[in-house]
Amino acid sequence: MIRDQETMQILLDSIRSFVNEALIPREEEVAETDEIPEDIVSQMRDMGLFGLTIPEEFGGLGVTMEEEVNIAFELGRTSPAFRSFIGTNNGIGSIGILLDGTEEQKATYLPKLASGEILSSFCLTEPDSGSDAASLRTTAVRDGDHYLINGTKRYITNAPHAGIFTVMARTDPEIKGAKGISAFIVEATTPGITIGKCDKKMGQKGAHTADVIFDNVRVPSSALIGENEGVGFKTAMKVLDKGRLHIAAIAVGAAERVLEDSLRYAMERKQFGRPISDFQLIQAMLADSKAEIYAARCMVLDAARRRDDGLSVSTEASCAKMFATEMCSRVADRGVQIHGGAGYVSDYAVERFYRDVRLFRLYEGTTQIQQVIISRNMIREAQQ
């Protein structure tokens, strides 16, 4: 649901110019230094990119799902590291406070997250709990007016930069699964928190993930999201479709970028006396990529519009996430193939994208988890 087409167009044009002129020329620097340059961070803050999904009353843009995926199509066209830096404030790092937080929690944190003054990280995954998130072991034990949090969280995006963590911890060990889990807002300066070394990842240099270790971290009971036990996790699970559509849209953007680069290369590179784009086997790869990207874009937009219309999109979001991210890897693979030997050396962006986009099929639910969700939904509906 795009509220105002003209305004949206100006907004997308502005983001596209920023991506083309400010971000794409700095991709290599980010890959080399494994760091988003401070001047870029400050430009992203100035533009308001940290608060896309946070409501206007808290200083954000309050975009609809359709608006969000349109923005993600644009942001996807450059290194995923840039998107990752603003990603947590716009998604998993703010959504718990937004949906379940008390008025005081919202007023305290959301404006700072929208402006990018602080970053927020989402602490769910643990060494022994990934896809089976509800089996997590981190505990939060009530101690008078406080809770004591203990446990280790793994692969936490933006952990080294975070001002606050949304921490999922078990408040009731008697209740197995999701119902026993609560969500806490934990400030990064709280004693007892240790951030591990940054993970050495296959790609996405500049985007940082690390372990976060909680050792007797004492937080006031006002840090409990919604001031009720057993709330945060359930809501987090309910809005997973939103994150999935966002990643699907980023994958579409990245695939479009890889295809643009591949097309340009194919038209410039000459073999046998003519551009390789003259050859039909190259043309087939270009065409397959174009059609698949178009299909994924349509899926993402359709699912986003349905979600804005208030429909349940669990199946559609999983379909879009699975198809778009798998498609993106295929397009990146063809991109390397079209570039030939040049695609295997880091002089061309396609080598980096090939590694960067691999992650899309893993986080926000692996492809296999999406398959399970889709088929379970199908079976459940057929049984009714």
């Binding site: 100006i10 907004l11 044009d13 533009m47 308001g48 990119l49 608060g51 206007e56 200083g59 843009l61």
Partner: protein, 250 residues
């Protein structure tokens, strides 16, 4: 001080220009349009003057089709306070634009008018100068630096031999060169708010100006394709080629 900025909707600078198959004009079908880059610099300069407390109000004006309101909204998002749209579907030529702008200047009584030095569609580089002539105001063209000091305007101009600095009495007309400033990206919340800023629609008729074309466009040709360049091994080889192949030096 009120600052008036004139902007133009043109083909986006990233777009590869194509000529219609009958050579009657440039093909604009499904082509991305944007604010002329020199006009972006003009808007940026006006907004900076406002941020410095020199300007009190920034009014942005354009002459063109309804779709040109998108560029006005962009200017509003960048910090202009209100917009005037002189709506016409006619092909607007420099003199017609200058005449309409002269009327707007007469109505608005700005302390300073800033325009891009030229628009990247036809590269005429005329409107600012014509506006100065029609209004009888002093002009500083191709500005690379602008400062208001003691009620006078100091304009540094880029000229062939270097830089020239002029002092103008206000009100005055300034046209912007590329190095005057680097325009900012619009803040996304400001883009949302731009919708609520006032935009007044006028017609050439109610301004009392005639925009009908005085120039007949006969034919549009794309520039000749350039040969690929070569790398030379030494300065001597370069000089040899310039002398004997290109024959540009003797």
């Amino acid at each position: 001080m009120k600052v008036l900025v004139a902007i133009k909707r043109v083909i986006d600078y990233n777009v590869k220009i194509r000529v219609k198959s009958d050579h009657s004009d440039v093909d604009l079908t499904n082509v991305k349009m944007a604010m002329n880059p020199f006009c972006e610099i003009a808007v940026e300069e006006a907004v900076r003057l406002k941020e410095k407390g020199v300007a009190t109000e920034v009014v942005v004006v354009t002459i063109g089709p309804k779709a040109a309101q998108e560029q006005l909204r962009t200017a509003l998002a960048l910090g202009a306070d209100r917009a005037i749209h002189v709506e016409t579907d006619l092909r607007v030529e420099s003199l017609g634009a200058a005449r309409a702008l002269a009327k707007i200047v007469e109505e608005q009584q700005p302390g300073l008018v800033i325009l891009g030095k030229q628009a990247i569609d036809t590269d005429n580089n005329q409107t600012g100068q014509m506006l100065a002539a029609l209004t009888g105001l002093p002009q500083g063209t191709f500005a690379s630096e602008v400062a208001v000091e003691d009620g006078r305007l100091r304009v540094t101009r880029e000229i062939d031999g270097g830089l020239e600095t002029l002092e103008l009495t206000l009100p005055a007309i300034v046209t912007t060169d590329l190095r005057l400033n680097e325009p900012r990206y619009a803040k996304l919340p400001d883009i949302m708010k731009a919708k609520k800023k006032p935009l007044e629609v006028r017609t050439p008729a109610d301004l009392g100006v005639e925009l009908a074309s005085r120039i007949k466009l006969l034919k549009v040709e794309p520039p000749a394709e350039r040969q690929a360049g070569i790398k030379v091994g030494s300065v001597d080889e370069l000089i040899d080629k310039l002398k004997n192949e290109a024959k540009v030096i003797s």
